[in-house]
Each structure stands twice: as structure tokens, then as C-alpha cells.
């Protein structure tokens, strides 16, 4: 397993391509998510918004593309969704949940 470190969230931009960290296990319940990171033994609880973003991250789409997809699916203001997705992905990075 490749070592992962908590990333610099400022490095995440709208053009970044986030990829889930290797080996992270996740489950959904009542609209919330629980992630377990075996590298750190860390447990993370995702609110419904963060869970939607986590589930959408596939290692190929940019943050901007993810935001567009989610805005289209939800019918919400694209600019608001863009800011929200960027914030959530940066939070994932700061917690070391993303690869690279």
C-alpha cells in the first residue's frame, strides 16, 4: 500500500483530479457515510453532502467536472455547488483521504 499523508488543502483546485486513498473502506447509513482509513486507523463520518462528493470521486473527473455533475443532478446553483465541492474535497485532502 502506498503511503498517504494529509495533503495541503490549498493544493486542491477546481482542475485537480481527486482519487480515493487506497484501501479506504466506506459504508452508507441514513444518508451519512463512515470511512475507515487502515493506514491511520482513522474513522471519519461524512454528512450527506460529503458522502455524495465522496461517492462521485472516481479518479478521472476533475473537481470542476464533479461539481457540474452534482449541480445537474441536484438542480442547485452551479456556483454554490462548485464552492461546496471544492471545500469538501479540500477537507478530504487535509484528512489524508485522497491518493497522491
Amino acid at each position: 500500500m502506498t503511503a498517504r499523508t494529509a495533503g495541503n488543502q490549498a493544493m486542491i483546485s477546481i482542475a485537480s483530479v481527486p482519487r480515493p486513498g487506497e484501501g479506504i473502506a466506506s459504508v452508507e447509513i441514513d444518508g451519512e457515510g463512515v470511512l475507515f482509513d487502515p493506514q491511520t486507523n482513522g474513522l471519519h463520518i461524512l454528512n450527506p453532502t460529503a458522502l455524495v462528493v465522496w461517492d462521485a470521486i472516481d479518479g478521472t473527473a476533475t473537481v470542476g467536472e464533479l461539481a457540474t455533475q452534482l449541480a445537474e443532478a441536484s438542480g442547485a446553483d452551479p456556483e454554490v455547488v462548485r464552492e461546496g465541492v471544492l471545500e469538501v474535497v479540500r477537507d478530504f485532502a487535509s484528512r489524508g483521504l485522497l491518493a497522491g
Partner: protein, 313 residues
């Protein structure tokens, strides 16, 4: 999640001897316990100290089985200084000590280690487990949270006992399995549960200082439960002097709490998390902060009574 096991090897009470004595030939006579059989445990214990033997036989009576056991442990009291106490597994030396409590501690630790060697379908969580009015109740939490005290209190109040310290979930049919090893009552819990003090064994505190091994069937006859579906998870937290408070907990939070107390090999995290999710999805989840055992038991009893009535409807 706790990788592998939360159980640590006891720290030696004294330095290891430079020259370990050989197997003491002609040692005996022996007191032998019945076969102890539960989860991965399949052992018999023999000891040259009859008082200790009787104490262990009584402590583990709820996991007593018949027939020959897979492994035999021997606790030998040679009386020879400087290492008068020794523990063997088969003919293999496990420890020698000047302290009787050290070898018994080592024995109990190894019994726990063996119990954890279970089939892949079983999920193990650091929790107490009882059945009340047909509702399987999990009581998860870290050491010192008051799990054992609450488990014992509930059994005293009429709940049936599945396990203490180690709850066992069969993921194939989502049931809580029994692992009725003795409750280990220690610290201030001995004051709260003073009536459960083992009596009539005459055992010297040399072997088990500061704690009691209490089989559930001595708390209440016929207290042993059959496997049950989980319906309620209550995470206890004992805080001296506090008013008892019961609060709902989100299922996501409860999965995280259970995951922090789960025991699985390193490569089965996804399986473990999914298993915990399935358990939690079937349960109502609460956190119980308590300073009084009777109040805490009443809160849990009220929940199970309500759930049981709802099931009947």
C-alpha cells in the same frame, strides 16, 4: 478498528529467570478443571494448587464442556524460590515468576487470545451483550466505560447473559452469539457489585488481586442466553456522581464507535465495516452516561420493554 487484538501480553512482574527450570517431574497431585469450550477456546487447566483449580473451575463453569480438550494448561506451584510459580501449555514453558498473579494473568490472557481464533464469519467487538425481553443488547465501549458493571447489573435485573468484553456477531444470520466467559469485575465496580464477590473458594488474593471472575450463572441461575438478534446498542460511559442521561446517537456515529472497538485481522476492514453497518441498521442506538447503576439499568430496561411491545404489535 483494532488490528488483530486489543489484548496485550501482561508485563512481567519480575525479570525472567536466567535458567528456566525444566518440567517438574513427578509434580502433582493435580486438580483439573472441566473442559472449557467457547469460540476458539478448547482447553483444560490443571494446577497443583487445588484452591486455584476450584476457583478457575467455578469461574469458567458457564463454558464447561465434556470430553477431552485440545490443549492443557498447567499452573505449577513448586514453592522453590526464586520462581515458585510456573505456567505450561502442554509441556512447553510459558512463564515462570515469583508472583502467582503473574502466571494466572498470563493464563487468562492466553485463554482470551485463544477465544479470538474464530471462524471468518464471526465479527468480534469489544462490548458486553445481553438479551432482555427478546431484544439483543450490545454495550460497546473502551476499557473503563462501565460495560461490565452495566452488563452485570442488567443480568442481576433479569437480562440473560451473552458475553462480557467480547460481543460475537454471526454475520451470516446477524445474530449475537454467546461467549459466556466469566465477567471480570474490578476496581470500584467491586463496591457497586459487592454482592457478586465470589464466596466459598478460599482463594488467596495472591492469584487474582483486585478483580473477581464471576460466572453469570452465579449472578442469577439460568442467566445464560441463546443467540439473539440485536435490536439495541447502548454505549455506556460511567462518570462518578453524574446524573444518568440517555441520548440517541446517529447510526453513523455508532458504526464509528463500534469500528473503534472491533477486532479483526488487518486485511478485512471493508468486511468488518459492512458487518457493523448491518448490525447497526437493525438497532436503535443510544449513548448512556451514568453515575448510578440502578438508574442506568432502568433506562435500558425501559428501552427493551418498549421495543419488545412494538415487536409484538
Amino acid at each position: 478498528m483494532i488490528a488483530g487484538s486489543s489484548i496485550r501480553s501482561p508485563e512481567p512482574a519480575d525479570p525472567p529467570p536466567k535458567h528456566l527450570p525444566a518440567w517438574p517431574e513427578g509434580t502433582g497431585p493435580w486438580f483439573e478443571t472441566t473442559r472449557l469450550r467457547s469460540l476458539g477456546l478448547d482447553v483444560r487447566i490443571r494446577t497443583t494448587d487445588a484452591q486455584l483449580g476450584r476457583y478457575l473451575d467455578r469461574a469458567f463453569r458457564d463454558v464447561a464442556g465434556e470430553g477431552p480438550a485440545e490443549t492443557t494448561y498447567s499452573v505449577v506451584t513448586t514453592g522453590d524460590p526464586p520462581w515458585p510459580y510456573a505456567l505450561y501449555q502442554g509441556s512447553e514453558r510459558m512463564s515462570f515468576s515469583a508472583s502467582g498473579s503473574y502466571v494466572v494473568e498470563h493464563l487468562l490472557w492466553d485463554l482470551n487470545r485463544r477465544a479470538l481464533d474464530v471462524e471468518d464469519r464471526l465479527l468480534l467487538v469489544h462490548a458486553g451483550a445481553v438479551v432482555r425481553e427478546g431484544v439483543g443488547v450490545l454495550l460497546p465501549g473502551p476499557s473503563g466505560a462501565g460495560k461490565t458493571t452495566l452488563t452485570a447489573g442488567l443480568v442481576l435485573g433479569g437480562a440473560d447473559y451473552l458475553s462480557d468484553e467480547l460481543a460475537v456477531v454471526d454475520t451470516t444470520d446477524l445474530t449475537l452469539r454467546a461467549h459466556p466467559s466469566p465477567l471480570v469485575i474490578k476496581g470500584k465496580s467491586r463496591e457497586t457489585l459487592a454482592d457478586l464477590r465470589p464466596r466459598g473458594t478460599g482463594l488467596s488474593p495472591t492469584y487474582v488481586p483486585g478483580r473477581w471472575l464471576v460466572p453469570a450463572s452465579t449472578i442469577r441461575p439460568a442467566a445464560l442466553a441463546s443467540p439473539a438478534r440485536p435490536g439495541l446498542i447502548v454505549a455506556p460511559r460511567y462518570v462518578a456522581g453524574t446524573q444518568t442521561r440517555l441520548e440517541p446517537v446517529s447510526r453513523a456515529n455508532m458504526i464509528a464507535l463500534l469500528a473503534s472497538q472491533a477486532l479483526r485481522p488487518r486485511d478485512r476492514h471493508a468486511w468488518t465495516l459492512q458487518g457493523l453497518r448491518d448490525v447497526v441498521a437493525a438497532c436503535a442506538c443510544y449513548r448512556l452516561t451514568y453515575g448510578d447503576l440502578a438508574d442506568a439499568c432502568a433506562e435500558v430496561a425501559q428501552l427493551t420493554t418498549t421495543m419488545s411491545r412494538e415487536q409484538v404489535r
